[in-house]
């Protein structure tokens, strides 16, 4: 075996480490399998759906496995000895991957329902064609999984792009649709621009700190302070993250893409893209907690808080005057991203402090509840749009009589989006505000965020109730009953029932699980920080941007 001798010194991850990243590996395997199988057996959509579903199941299996492995609170990483980690697995990443996998399965369910309806009903129904649709879906999920699982700025950027590029194509997956083509054009131009700015910020951060490892940068900042250029570079990097969350002022793509893209794609992006972006933001904010002095952690928190308040308010105000329900839901998803960002604005306190955990747990539970209510609302909108050929408010007229098993779950989801008791939306929002209030004990400016959130909740009642009014109070006798596919009924009612349960009897369960999943984020990997500090001492640290030729190695 002499030919393998040169490989002997190369570091290989242990099987134990690889098990932690089984979710990503199974996604990659499914993507390759799908490409190869579609060459062997022809371009079958059922095959694509089947493989994608199998991938979702595999991800769930590996996440449960990984949850057991990291349950002791330790975080593991794929790290060659002496180097900073590029990928980490902790309970927080496990939660995000589970969320994405569950969501992927429901998106495939929605797609199958639509495909079946398109075949039997014979109406104009855009079916995203071919196995490519699922390849793109899985690839974007791979990117999103990596987004939440890395402390390295370069890997973050690659992950954001891995998630974005397939999403652009997904938006245009119905090639007959002019709206889809336009949505994809706006999406790709906006995304490419923000990605380029992000790359420039990354290059400046690399120059200032001599590393792309986030804990190492945080360590350097806490020792030597943040130069003015560092703030600009940081803001430029966060532009790319804000694009994924669709935070103001980088939210313009969101309503256009959601309106123009097929409804499965809009649903997928509304939750998955935002969840992954938030996970990334949380990791950045958490890295600047702990030992980082308040002069650096506080301005960052103020920035996030300001953007969160603006996102929430603008999203709600724009939703007020929408006639297209899909577009209204797009603005509502912007507003909800704002609510969730508020919890990310709570400044992380010292490492042992308990305040961060309720905030993280609040976001974790909010994301799960948001998934359910958004899925239900988008699902019903899809059913209506498929049978009526329109997603305007007028298409919902008299739905309470024409399709009560759609109208009732739709109302439950919308009331939950407002945040009315006894629904899960109320519980999640209440917990979020409680976390903000708890943080306000130390930072009284957080009360402003609570104030903004409460006012916005009241405003949002108007546009959600408008849809409910149209369904139950407006009616036209000439309109016939809707034929709704059984799969769609199951999806909408399942979401509604879960929202009712989570808001009442299962609330304690959700709370415990969220606390468990949120436990590990705040802790930075100590070994990578030490390695980075050694490296910095050798490099000469962040000061002295103007380096002469004399410094050449």
């Amino acid at each position: 075996m002499t030919m393998f001798a040169p490989l002997a010194g190369i570091w290989m991850p242990s099987p134990q480490d690889l098990r932690l990243f089984g979710a990503e590996l199974s996604l990659v395997a499914a993507i390759v399998a799908l490409l190869v199988l579609s060459m062997l057996f022809g371009r079958s959509e059922r095959l694509g759906a089947g493989v994608a579903l199998a991938a979702a199941v595999a991800v769930i299996f590996f996440c449960r496995d990984a949850a057991g492995l990291v349950d002791t609170g330790a975080r593991a990483a794929l790290t060659p000895p002496g180097a900073a980690s590029m990928l980490v697995a902790d309970r927080f990443t496990v939660f995000f991957k589970l969320l994405l996998a569950l969501f992927l399965a429901t998106i495939i369910w929605l797609w199958m329902t639509g495909a079946a309806a398109g075949r039997t009903g014979g109406e104009v129904r855009p079916v995203p064609a071919g196995p490519e649709f699922f390849v793109l879906l899985l690839t974007s999920m791979l990117g999103m999984s990596l987004m939440v699982a890395t402390p390295n700025l370069l890997v973050m950027m690659i992950a954001v792009e891995t998630a974005s590029l397939p999403s652009y194509m997904l938006a245009a997956s119905d090639r007959r649709s002019r709206a889809g083509a336009e949505a994809a054009l706006k999406y790709v131009l906006f995304g490419a621009t923000t990605a380029a700015v992000m790359a420039y910020g990354l290059s400046l951060l690399f120059g200032l700190f001599g590393t792309l490892d986030l804990p190492a940068i945080a360590a350097a900042v806490s020792v030597k302070g943040m130069p003015a250029l560092g703030w600009i570079a940081m803001a430029a990097f966060l532009v790319g993250v804000a694009f994924k969350i669709s935070a103001v002022p980088l939210h313009f793509w969101c309503p256009d893409v959601f309106e123009g893209a097929p409804v499965e794609v809009a649903t997928w992006l509304s939750v998955a893209s935002k969840a992954a972006g938030l996970g990334l933001l949380l990791r950045i904010v958490a890295a600047f907690g702990g030992d980082v002095p308040a002069t650096i952690a506080l301005p960052l928190a103020w920035g996030v808080g300001l953007v969160a308040a603006a996102t929430c308010t603008l999203g709600n105000l724009a939703a007020l005057r929408q006639e297209s329900v899909k577009r209204m839901l797009a603005y509502s998803s912007i507003a909800h991203a704002g609510y969730m960002m508020m919890a990310a604005a709570i400044p992380p306190a010292a490492a042992g402090d308990a305040t961060v955990r309720p905030a993280m747990a609040a976001i974790v539970s909010y994301l799960f509840v948001y998934l359910l209510m958004n899925l239900g609302a988008f699902g019903v909108t899809a059913m209506v749009a498929w049978s009526q050929g329109s997603d305007r408010l007028a298409a919902f007229t008299g739905l309470g009589r024409r399709a009560p098993w759609l109208a009732v779950p739709m109302s439950i989801c919308l009331f939950s989006l407002v945040g009315l008791p006894p629904l899960a939306g109320f519980a999640a929002k209440w917990w979020l505000l409680a976390a903000l209030g708890q943080g306000a004990d130390r930072h009284s400016w957080l009360w402003w965020l609570v104030f903004v959130a409460v006012i916005n909740t009241a405003v949002s009642l108007y546009y959600y109730v408008r849809v409910i009014r149209q369904m139950f109070l407006a009616d036209d006798e000439r309109l016939e009953r809707l034929a709704v596919p059984v799969g769609g009924l199951a999806l909408a009612n399942g979401c509604a029932v879960l929202l009712l349960l989570l808001g009442t009897v299962a609330f304690g369960l959700m709370r415990d699980r969220s606390l468990a999943y949120a436990a590990c984020l705040a802790r930075a990997a100590p070994e990578s920080v030490v390695a980075a500090q050694d490296r910095l001492a050798w490099n000469g640290g962040p000061e002295g941007m103007v380096v002469n030729g004399a410094d050449r190695p």
Partner: protein, 103 residues
Amino acid sequence: MGSITLMHYLVLGALLFCCGLLTMVVKRNAVGILIGVELVLNAANVNLVAFGRYRGAGIDGQAAALFVIVLAAAEAAVAIAIFMNFYRHLTTVDVDRGDLLRG
């Protein structure tokens, strides 16, 4: 004439960044905007390689620049495919003509 220092490269990078940003803002043609994006990405590359060479962080900077090059190529491929799709519908790639979705 003194020797070329890190500062020279950073100024070049900043100039490229500004040119790219200006192109992205001014151009109405989708391909023009994409060219602006490429300029900004290359500004990042110049910075990364210069920092990697002068600040002595091993080959991290150069490796990062390689990744950014690959990202730029992938992005251009996807973007141009989407432009073609847009062109099939409107026989133009003027972004101002995309006025179906608004509000």
